[in-house]
Every structure is written in C-alpha cells, then in structure tokens.
C-alpha cells in the first residue's frame, strides 16, 4: 500500500501573497501528534459536550491501529474511541499499536466547499471550513465529497455537520474543546503566523504529514508520527 502521508514544507502553510493582501485574518493550523495520543477519548467526549454532537455521529474520533508481526493491520474505533479502548485481547502477535485522532482537516482546497450547490459550506476568512445550517439544503453531496469521512448529516437539523475547530471558542480567544481536554498535548491548535502560538514551533521544527495528500485538498490538520497504514 502507498504511504498515508506526504512530507510538506512550511512554505505551503504560509499565506499566499494573494491571501495576505486580501485577507487580514490569521491562518490557523491544527497539529496532531500521533506519537503522544494515548486513546483516552477525552477529546471526543469534550467535543460532544461542547458542540452538542448527536449520538452515533462524530466531529472528532480516535482510531487504534494494531499491526501484527505477519503484516496484517487491524483498525478499530469503538464509539469513535470516545470511551477509550479496551486492551487488546491477544497482544502476543502485535508488532506495534498506536492511536490516531481524526477530525475535519479544514483543507485549504476543500472538496466539500467545491461541491456544495448553494454555498452553505464555505471557508471563513480565518480559513475555517464551516456550514451555514440555515442555508444547507441537506443534499449530502459534501458528505460524499469529503475523503476523510469527517462529515455527517445531523439527524436533528437535517443539515451537514462537522468539526468547526470550535470556531465560536477561537473567536473568543479560547482554544478548541478537544485541545483543552487532551491530557498529553497530542492536539495543538493556533495561528501559523504567531510565534507565541502552540503550533508555530512545531511547524518550524517537526516533519509533518497530512492525510490523503493525493487529493490535492491541502489539509490544515498536520500530523507528527503518522504511520503509512493510516488513511
């Protein structure tokens, strides 16, 4: 199987000249350090509470990858990992196992925004991919278009739903609910331009990968320590 990510440079994250001249708002990025995640599920739990996410749907979730000595790969995410993970029943054949948190990638070149027929899904001036539930017709085209399975149809509002990077909190100067809840600092969020931002140093120093780079969507969720098996 092909690798799950592609190394990208800092230059790709920086605002383009066009962006810098037309928009004053800072550009944000989300860093997931897959090497730190312990699969406790606190992030998904906090997200549900903060954003009133309906049962059986997920704005963020955690996947557990178990790679056996014979090369077979098992992936599970019971209840989106929200209640943590049970220990593996038989770990004698396991070569390695790790957790990968997932959420909307708030892509720079998002498929979902491209396909929305009424402009209900849009990119905010800060680079957040958002859904206007008063405009959404509920056609699910964006759900089909998202390569990451990050979207769902909200059974209460009957409109498309997904992670907003806690836009409401960010605009008030807080961080996202999941970042705040993570006990090990596996999630980081902030402005790519601000030297004081938690992501600034990581972007400068670490080698980062994104999910499904071949789509050309240019995700703004960047991973540290992503394995080739992760999609």
């Amino acid at each position: 199987m092909a690798g799950g990510g592609l190394y990208i440079s800092l230059f790709q994250l920086l605002p383009s000249p066009a962006r810098a001249s037309s928009q004053q708002a800072p550009l944000y990025a989300f860093i997931v350090d897959a090497e730190k995640c312990i699969g406790c599920g606190k992030c998904a739990e906090a997200c549900r509470a903060e954003n009133n996410v309906p049962e059986d749907f997920y704005r963020t979730w955690i996947e557990r990858y178990t790679i056996h000595q014979d090369g077979t790969v098992n992936v599970d995410s019971p209840h989106g990992g929200e209640h943590g993970f049970k220990p593996l029943e038989d770990s004698s054949t396991v070569e390695k196992s790790f957790f990968v948190p997932k959420l909307c990638n708030h892509c720079k070149n998002p498929n979902c925004v491209q396909v929305c027929p009424v402009g209900a899904t849009y990119v905010s001036k800060e680079g957040f991919v958002l859904v206007d539930e008063k405009q959404c017709v509920g056609c699910s085209y964006c759900v089909m278009a998202c390569p990451y399975g990050a979207r769902f149809m909200n059974p209460v509002t009957h409109t498309a739903d997904k992670c907003t990077w806690c836009y409401h909190r960010i605009m008030q100067g807080h961080t996202t609910a999941c970042v705040e809840a993570c006990p090990v600092g596996a999630r980081q969020f902030g402005s790519v331009d601000d030297p004081k931002s938690p992501v600034y140093k990581v972007l400068k120093e670490k080698r980062l990968q994104v999910l499904k780079p071949e789509t050309g969507n240019e995700p703004m969720v960047l991973y540290v320590g992503l394995d080739k098996e992760v999609r």
Binding site: F57, V113, V118, C139
Partner: protein, 390 residues
C-alpha cells in the same frame, strides 16, 4: 429499520448510507427521459420514418419522465423547502448547482416541442369537442387556430430546430448526472471520466427499452397490431447502444482491476461480496449477456415477427432491470465501502418511510399515469391521428 451489517473498519460517520434508494431513482428516471427523447429525435431530426408510429409517444414519454425526474430528490433532501436555493443562490463551483438550469431549459424545450407537434391536433380537437373539453383544448391551443399548410410548415421547421437542440440537451442532461458522480475524487468507485458516458449510454438504452414495452402494452390494450418495422428498428438501436454501454461498463472495471490501485482490493470485495448479486448476477450476466446475445439474433437473424417481438420484449425488460441494477450498484455500491478502504457497510431500503420502497414505486408509476392522462387528451399514436383524420 434494517440492521446494518458492517465488516472491517469504517470511519465512524460512514456506517449509515446517506444517498438512498431515492438517489438511485433520480438518475434512473432521468435516463429514461434521455433515451425516449433520442428515439423521438431519430424521427424528427434524422428522418427515420420507420419510427413514426412511436415518435409522438416517445416525445410525450420523455416529458412525463422529465416531470418526475427531480421528485426523488425532494424526498431525499434534508430541507426540501430549500430545494430552489440551488437555482436562487447557486454556487457554480458545484457540479450540482447547474442541474436546476439544465433541467428547466430541457423541460421548456420538450414542452415547446410537444406543443408544436400536437398543435394541429389541439386546434382540431378544440373545434370538434364541446363543453369543458372544448375549454381545455382552447386553453391548450394558446389562442392559435391557424392550421393552414403554411403555418404547419413553420411548425415543422420549429419542431426540427427544437428536436435538434434537444439532442445535445438530452446528452448534456444525462452526461451531467454521470458527472455528478464521476467528478467526486473522494470515491474511487465513482471517480472515472467514463462515468458520464456510461450514464448517457445506459440512459439511451433504458429509454428505448421502456418505449418498446410501453408500445407493446398500449397496442395490446388497444387491440391494434404492432408495427413490426418500427419495432425491428428499435431493437437494432437498442442492441447497438447496449453494446457500447456494456463494453464501457466492462472496460471501467477492467481498467480498475488491471491498474490495481490500492483501492482495488476493497472494490473487488464489494463487487464479489455485497454487490455479488446486483452487480455480477443481475447487471453483468443475466441482464447484460442474455440481451446482448439475443438482441444480436433478433437484429440479424430471420425469424417470425411473433418470435422476434417476444424476444425483443424480454430483452427490453432485462435491459430496464440492468440499468436499474447499474444505478443501484453505482449509487449504493459507492457508499458501501469505507473511504478508509478497510471496511464495508450494508444498506436495505425500508418499505415505508420517506425514502422507502413504497414511495419509490409510486414515483416510478407517476410518469406512466401522466402518460395515460396525455393519452386521454391527445392522439399519441400515429394510427389514431390517421384514423381520426380519415
């Protein structure tokens, strides 16, 4: 509510299939429009005289299917009351946003063509009938009463132009529906440039097939002998387009299998597992191979009219099922595997409910009910006009 059976790993939001039976019906009904219109145009534009007996009916049939082509979408949308936002506040980067305009343009075009084709009949019936029917025909005539040879000649010229514009429009309408799926790069089962062409070809064959079946049913009910030359011509067109259709469908999967990108392993599992019956058995074997071979004999070999018509009728029915199975396998199949490429889910439509089987049957029946109403109002069949004029 059916129990969803999953295997392997799916992203947690992928368990439920979002595009349901209604989204299977939408391209199916739209396809019938394109096919029926092409048959009508073979007569009106290309002068295929042998298709004259079915020319008017195929035009009206196209219109009746067109009227209901979007209704499945209304049953599917989370907010059907906002459906017209697609036209009022469109976002043109979306493949979907153009549909409202293309659909409306085509609906007006077909309606205009129907009016010009039937204008002499409407004027005549406005003169012959009395009471409420006279009023109905008078309204339908839109104030026109001139059926002189000169105006009829103008009518024919306008019909020719409308039918000629209608052919690319029909192709755009259905190629476009294929593009809605084919342009989604997130889904390897959909994302192929062949998709619009396959949709178009399957649309044409389904339209011809439904016309053949309707023609038989109407002639049996009317106790009028069928026009064998017309049918023989339809069988040949059906066979020709079906060869292209099945070849493209086969090539699409062959290319995927041969290239064997990383997604192939899950698509192979899908085709041989969850879609084993609907794809391999129905779409590719029973409803493709049999009609391909039998229609070949029907088109090329000498046989009695009765045998030919029986075989042709069976093949038409099989092809209608083939195209429905193809729509199912594309629309539902594309949602049964995870974008993680590691797992499969399941889907069975409910009987009741907004997107259930009962609604689907009703929506499929409505175009035929509308055709029946048209049939009561206007002479759809060539022999009727001749008889009445005679």
């Amino acid at each position: 509510m059916h129990e969803i059976v999953t295997s392997g790993f799916l992203f947690p939001n992928e368990i439920e299939v979002h595009w349901s039976l209604m989204i299977v019906l939408y391209p199916y009904i739209t396809g019938l429009v394109a096919g029926a219109f092409i048959v009508s145009s073979l007569y009106h534009v290309f002068g295929k005289q042998e298709l004259k007996p079915i020319a008017k009916f195929s035009l009206v049939g196209a219109f009746c299917f067109l009227l209901f082509a979007c209704t499945p979408l209304l049953f599917h949308l989370g907010h059907p009351e906002r459906a017209f936002n697609i036209m009022f506040t469109p976002k043109f980067t979306s493949a979907m946003s153009g549909f409202g305009y293309i659909y409306t343009f085509y609906l007006i075009l077909v309606l205009l063509e129907i009016w010009f084709v039937f204008r002499p009949d409407i004027v005549r019936l406005a003169g012959e009938t009395t009471g409420i029917m006279k009023a109905v025909y008078w309204v339908m005539a839109l104030g026109s009463s001139d059926v002189s040879e000169e105006t009829l000649s103008i009518d024919r010229k306008i019909t020719l132009v409308l039918a000629a514009v209608g052919i690319p429009s029909a192709c755009v309408l259905h190629g476009y529906v294929g593009f809605l799926f084919g342009s989604l790069k997130s889904n390897p089962w959909w994302s192929t440039p062949l998709m619009p062409v396959i949709f178009l070809m399957s649309a044409i064959v389904s339209g011809i097939a439904v016309l053949i079946i309707c023609y038989f049913i109407v002639m049996v009910v009317k106790k009028v002998p069928v026009d064998n030359a017309c049918l023989q011509s339809l069988y040949k067109y059906l066979w020709g387009f079906f060869i292209i259709d099945v070849t493209l469908e086969g090539l699409e999967v062959l290319t995927m299998a041969y290239e064997a990108h990383e997604e192939w392993h899950i698509i192979a599992q899908l085709l041989t597992g969850k879609l084993g019956f609907s794809y391999i058995v129905l779409q590719m074997v029973i409803c493709s191979l049999i009609p391909l071979v039998v229609l070949g004999f029907v088109s090329l070999k000498k046989m009695s009219d009765m045998t030919r018509n029986r075989l042709g009728l069976i093949c038409s029915a099989l092809i209608l099922i083939q195209v429905l199975a193809m729509r199912w396998n594309v629309v539902i199949g594309g949602q049964l595997f995870s974008k993680s490429l590691r797992g499969l889910t399941s889907y069975s439509p409910t009987f009741l409910g907004r997107e259930g089987l009962l609604v689907a049957f009703i929506l499929l029946a409505l175009p035929f009910v509308t055709m029946y109403i048209f049939n009561l109002l206007l002479p759809l069949w060539e022999n009727e006009t001749a008889k009445e004029e005679g």
